[in-house]
């Protein structure tokens, strides 16, 4: 079934172990009209996504924004886990940090992060998220159109490959 992407709000998963920062990022995202789920660890983020559940995506998450410095699983560790999973690797990930360390920033960007925000995060930073979400939505719309064109009552049809869409 085709879902028009413009009907629902984008859903952002925010990850930060500090309560104040979690409250702040949640407020910034809600002010920008995003639906927000905020969790306090990378482990909880993966649980929420359903990564532990045989890699099946339980909920639709359009973007993940995570703090870098967290006990246990860092934001970088979380980034890598997302990018290494077949179900979630296309979800854009943004990293936040209070420390301005160029080698850290490069590592995160090279690891697949779309953006790296220095804390304190402001509304002008959150405004930079929209292009990353819009890009992914267009890809999804194309994929869904292509899927509709496959007519196959046979449940054991071959795995779907990317088709050219006009």
């Amino acid at each position: 079934m085709v879902m028009a992407a413009s009907e629902t709000k984008f859903h952002v998963l925010a990850v930060d172990d500090t309560l104040i920062d979690r409250k702040l990022i949640e407020k910034l995202l809600k002010t920008s009209s995003y639906q927000v789920t905020a969790v306090d660890s990378g482990t909880k983020a993966l649980e929420f996504l359903g990564l532990n559940n045989n890699d099946h995506q339980d909920v639709e998450v359009n973007l993940i924004i995570t703090d870098y410095c967290m006990p246990g699983m860092t934001g970088y560790d979380l980034l890598r886990k997302i990018k290494e999973s077949s179900s979630f690797k296309d979800i854009p990930v943004v990293i936040m940090s209070s420390d301005n360390i160029p080698s850290r920033i490069n590592r995160c960007l090279e690891g697949g992060a779309e953006e790296f925000f220095l804390k304190p995060v402001q509304l002008s930073d959150v405004n930079k998220l929209r292009p990353h979400l819009m890009k992914r939505t267009q890809t999804n719309v194309n994929k869904r159109k292509a899927m509709d064109e496959i007519v196959s009552p046979d449940r054991t049809r071959a795995r779907y490959n990317e088709l050219e869409v006009n």
Binding site: I20, L24, S98, Q122
Partner: protein, 156 residues
């Protein structure tokens, strides 16, 4: 409904307090950014964040005081972690002087200088008290304005 001059002076003070705070460097632009986020959906956003910060700050200052008192040796790693946390949250709320006190504190903690750390902790407590005092004045004014039937002037 309004009590004439009383309301005017309340609203004036309400505008004055944050300006004075910023002028004195007690808060920086980040605090203004937080006030701009306050709206009808979350009319007490700044107060809520500030309350969390006060709790956090008091706990961390207390932990550092205890750590510095340890006769068998000061755990500077723990002190460093406390400073890191406090620097982060003071930065998030825009508490500039508290944040700067943390930065100064860090160099003494890195140097494992107990005396220096004790002085810094005192300075930090002082900056925190100053900030708390100013912000509580602001929130009290806000309540008084609302109680007198006025509305809070929003920051744009």
């Amino acid at each position: 409904m309004w009590h004439g001059i009383d309301m005017c002076s309340l609203v004036y003070s309400f505008a004055f307090v944050p300006c004075a705070c910023e002028h004195q460097g007690i808060v920086d632009d980040q605090f203004t950014q937080l006030r701009k986020l306050e709206d009808e959906n979350s009319p007490h956003f700044v107060m809520e964040v500030a309350s969390l910060f006060f709790e956090d700050c008091e706990k961390l200052i207390n932990n550092m005081a205890i750590a510095l008192e340890q006769k068998q040796g000061v755990d500077f790693k723990q002190i460093d972690e406390c400073i890191h946390q406090l620097k982060g949250s003071s930065s998030s709320i825009g508490a500039m002087r508290v944040k700067n006190a943390c930065i100064a504190f860090r160099s003494f903690s890195d140097g494992q200088n107990r005396e220096g750390c004790l002085r810094c902790l005192q300075q930090l407590s002082h900056e925190y008290s100053l900030l708390k005092n100013k912000l509580q004045t602001l929130f009290r004014l806000e309540k008084q304005i609302v109680a007198a039937g006025g509305s809070i002037p929003r920051v744009h």
